[in-house]
């Protein structure tokens, strides 16, 4: 999955911002409590911790973020930082879209 998304930083973030987000994330998911999540966060950090890593990730990374488009969606949703609610009209549209399968 996209390391920027895992760490909750924008692609243009600086080294310091990325490190700060990384430290926040590992404080939230320490290895003794959430070993898998911690590993994911650490791997994400390694991929984008400095400019060269970020460029290498952008140019040469070959690991797809899922096995099917739906899995990508599910992982994207799970990794998305807390969202703000939709506005009222969008919420209406969302709920109304749930009448069909």
């Amino acid at each position: 999955m996209n390391p920027y998304l895992i760490l909750g930083v924008l692609p243009g973030a600086s080294d310091a911002e990325i490190r700060s987000a990384y430290l926040d994330a590992i404080r939230k998911f320490p290895p003794e409590r959430e070993p898998e999540r911690f590993q994911t966060i650490s791997n994400a950090y390694e991929q984008i911790k400095d400019e060269k890593s970020r460029l290498n990730y952008r140019l040469f990374d070959r690991v797809p973020p899922g096995a099917t488009p739906f899995e990508v969606l599910a992982k994207f949703c799970a990794a998305s930082p807390a969202k703000k609610p939709l506005d009222f009209d969008a919420m209406k549209a969302f709920l109304r879209s749930c009448t069909t399968t």
Binding site: N2, P64, F70, L73, F76, C77, K92, F94
Partner: protein, 832 residues
């Protein structure tokens, strides 16, 4: 086109009532409502009272299905028929659900209000849910719901109000509005949904998960919750079926503000699951703005499509990449991002290819052509790309007689010439790209352009004065060409950057010792002594470190004094070393070896003393020390002729095969011994003895199997499988891992239908490699081995070469790379 037939699709007249009923139920469960309806019609003729409710249900489901598919006239027909057979409440309930599916909120509201008045005393759960959904989703004003009784009207107002508060992030107000709704309220499910959404948005995923799990299985709330569920991870309580998953995906897109992607994503996913991968991409790229390099959902999906090839098996991956090649040729890109992503995919696919293909430079240069020229990272990106391309160019192998790739006039291979051209361009585009310098160094080495390499190293040391890796590499190259002083200067600079780095300390001790030896040999004895003083500054107490261990440094100097300098001083140094060492046999063996290496054929003064002390080698650690000293000495000069020393080591280790020894001791020694032809008999003896003591021991059964196998094709996979299972049962994971690796190799090499193994070599190519390897000298073979290591893992390479390089020639290792540390036995039995 032929119609699909189900297993139970016998003519209805041939079936009994029970069979028909079962068939109809199956059809209902599978969503084949038309077929179910037809069957229930037949059943109704037999027993109308019993089967009429089911017939009504089938008609209702069919009508809803037809509406969802957009077949409105057909749905109207079904509804008209339904009205002739169903009670009014059932017709109204169908009207509600059909109107909801048509997104006709006002009709749904009217029908729901009528139905609410008309509902039987104990209404169906599903009908109640449909009414609640229709009332909420109409988002009516009070006048529109005046026919609704008091409590329901209040509850509806509360739910709609809470939803509005939720969207305005007024969490407490929303909770407050919902609080009065009783559990039995018509809108109870909506209350749970809104509370779950509040928990979700306020960062309490556990609570949201728990609330969503309480929702009843019918109606809009549970479907909406399924979309939220995607953000919360897999639900422990519920696994949605396929239509529900599609609906959840559509809802999740909505929540991500990516509603426009949803219809394309659903179709693309279906195609992907049907293994129609490129069709899936074609579906997806119809979405507006797709593909994208942003960090949103479109970006994640784009990332997936342009990396998926690397997770596929070979044939579909090749097909997928080939499609993108043709797509690139067509040039019909949606946007520049698609062009970049396509050429990146093609370039990465070539980088993965162990064989050089001229297309790689074209693909990556095309990628760069679409990279914005004014992007501040353009220089760095270009440099990194060219660094990879240049390194890959060097892999190209040309046929010597190929007229299309003639060597230069000076015999310089064009592949290396191209690699140098591209790497120099890489450095030019970003002079701070250290990786490109290192790759250029490697190419100079392959091309044996030593002068260019040394000049580049000097330049690197100036450009990157604070980079340890540069200084260490410069030192290594200097020391290899015996420019000891220069090498030491580089190491001292590295040492000043990090005084505690053990690698630098080790290199420094080794470099000073090498310089001192040189000075002693040149009869500059005083200088040599001074240099040893400097070497000792970096010494340590590690009794098995032949570079930094103070005993070994003292012994080395002692030997050099005895050979080239002051014999009295040499004796004193050796006496001091003898006193301080904790392993006299290892020290004497080391001194004997160093002495032989310096005196060549003149023998050594320590041999007799060493033989006298052989009895002291009585413990597992002492045996290993003796073995490691031998390994170290042999690595310095394997041509010297070490037969007497080999016999000595064999005699020291021989008791292991007959006297008491622990399983661990034996298990450690066997793979070490198997590296040298002169010790193989000992490895076999120990294995036999271990199996005599415990015939079922998986580790030694595995060693025994390896011992009698000269090639991976001869491996007995059934025996390996047995060993693997026994090892798993006994919790011996190391043996299990070894057996599993060997099984995989045996399968790779043993399948005659498989033309290529996992690393892209055909059987013929492997045979050719083995034949060629048998003709190489040890040094040439080691160079070949190291180069192959860039393409395939070395343990696999060694196994491919098993029986060819084999037991007659252990692989040489440069002296400076050897470490006096214990080795693991991972796949080492194959390193022969």
């Amino acid at each position: 086109m032929s119609k699909k037939h189900h297993k139970n699709s016998r003519r209805p007249s041939e079936l009994s009532s029970d069979q028909l009923e079962r068939q109809a139920r199956d059809d209902m469960a599978a969503g084949r409502f038309r077929k179910a309806r037809d069957t229930y019609k037949i059943l109704c003729k037999q027993d109308r009272e019993k089967h009429l409710p089911a017939l009504i249900e089938a008609n209702r489901c069919l009508a809803e299905q037809l509406v969802e598919k957009g077949q409105i006239p057909e749905a109207e027909q079904v509804l008209a028929h339904l009205k002739t057979i169903a009670p009014s409440s059932s017709v109204l309930a169908t009207d509600v659900s059909v109107a909801l599916k048509k997104n006709d909120w006002l009709t749904a509201l009217d029908a729901a209000l009528c139905l609410w008045k008309d509902l039987p005393a104990v209404p169906l759960e599903r009908d109640r849910a449909a009414v609640a959904d229709a009332l909420v989703l109409a988002f009516p004003n009070l006048q529109e719901t005046e026919t609704l009784a008091r409590p329901e009207a209040t509850d509806l107002e509360a739910v709609v109000g809470a939803l509005r508060c939720l969207t305005e992030q007024r969490w407490e107000k929303a909770q407050e509005l919902l609080r009065p709704l009783p559990r039995g309220s018509l809108f109870a499910a909506w209350k749970i949904l809104v509370k779950g959404m509040i928990a979700f948005y306020t960062g309490d995923p556990e609570k949201a998960q728990a609330l969503f799990a309480q929702l009843p299985p019918h109606g809009v709330p549970v479907r909406a919750a399924n979309a939220f569920q995607l953000f919360l991870g897999p639900s422990p309580s519920r696994t949605p079926d396929e239509p529900a998953r599609d609906q959840a995906a559509r809802g999740a897109c909505c929540l991500l503000n990516a509603t426009n992607l949803a219809p394309f994503l659903l179709r693309a996913n279906q195609s992907w699951r049907a293994a129609r991968y490129t069709h899936s991409y074609e579906e997806m790229r119809r979405a507006p703005g797709f593909p994208s390099e942003e960090s949103d959902l479109a970006g994640a999906l784009s990332d997936f499509y342009f990396k998926a090839a690397f997770a596929m098996s070979e044939a579909p991956s090749d097909e997928y990449v080939e499609w993108f090649k043709q797509f690139a040729d067509s040039g019909r890109f949606n946007n520049d991002a698609e062009a970049r992503l396509t050429y990146r995919l093609l370039g990465c696919a070539e980088l993965k290819n162990p064989y050089y293909d001229g297309d790689i430079e074209f693909f990556w240069r095309s990628f760069l052509g679409f990279f914005p020229a004014d992007d501040p990272q353009n220089g760095k990106v270009t440099s990194l790309v060219l660094e990879q391309v240049g390194a890959h160019c060097a892999l190209r192998e040309e046929d010597e007689d190929n007229p299309f790739f003639p060597d230069d006039a000076d015999g310089f291979p064009p592949a290396l010439r191209d690699a140098i051209r591209v790497l120099e361009e890489s450095i030019e585009r970003d002079p701070s790209n250290l990786g490109a310098y290192f790759k250029l160094l490697d190419v100079y080495e392959s091309a044996e352009k030593d002068d260019d390499r040394d000049l580049l190293l000097d330049r690197m040391a100036d450009l990157f004065p604070r980079d340890k890796s540069v200084l260490l590499r410069a030192a290594k190259e200097s020391l290899q060409r015996e420019a000891y002083v220069k090498g030491i200067q580089y190491l001292e600079r590295a040492h000043s950057l990090d005084a505690l780095d053990p690698v630098v300390l080790q290199e420094l001790a080794g470099a000073y010792t090498a310089l001192a030896k040189d000075q002693y040999k040149k009869k500059n004895i005083n200088k040599g002594r001074h240099t040893f003083d400097l070497a000792r500054r970096h010494g340590n107490q590690d009794k098995l470190n032949f570079y930094r261990g103070l005993d070994f440094l003292q012994a080395t100097q002692g030997v050099l004094e005895l050979t080239f300098g002051d014999k009295g001083m040499g004796q004193r140094l050796m006496t001091a070393a003898r006193k301080s060492t904790s392993s006299i046999v290892a020290l004497l063996f080391f001194a004997h070896g160093i002495s032989r290496l310096n005196r060549r054929k003149r023998g050594s003064p320590f041999w007799a003393e060493l033989l006298q002390n052989r009895a002291l080698v009585a413990s597992a650690s002492a045996r290993k020390e003796v073995y490691l000293v031998f390994e170290y000495l042999h690595s310095i000069d394997e041509d010297l002729g070490w037969s007497a020393e080999s016999e000595f080591v064999a005699e020291c280790l021989l008791p292991v095969s007959s006297e008491a020894f622990s399983r661990e001791e034996a298990a450690d020694l066997v793979p070490l011994l198997a590296e040298y032809p002169q010790f193989i008999f000992l490895a076999e003896r120990i294995t036999r003895e271990a199996l005599r003591r415990n015939p079922t021991d998986p580790r030694f059964r595995l060693y025994s199997l390896f011992g009698c196998t000269s090639s991976p094709t001869d491996l007995d996979t059934a025996a390996l499988a047995g060993i693997y299972h026994d090892a798993i049962r006994e919790g011996d994971t190391k043996t299990a891992t070894l057996a599993q690796g060997a099984m995989r190799l045996a399968e790779d090499f043993g399948d005659p239908s498989d033309e290529q193994d996992d690393f892209g070599f055909s059987d013929k190519e492997i045979e050719e490699m083995r034949r060629m390897a048998s003709t190489l000298s040890d040094a040439e073979f080691e160079a070949f081995r190291q180069k192959s290591g860039e393409i395939i893992p070395l343990p696999i390479f060694d196994l491919v070469m098993a029986g060819i390089r084999g037991k007659s020639s252990p692989r040489p290792q440069p002296e400076r790379q050897r470490r006096g540390t214990w080795k693991t036995d991972e796949l080492d039995l194959f390193n022969q």
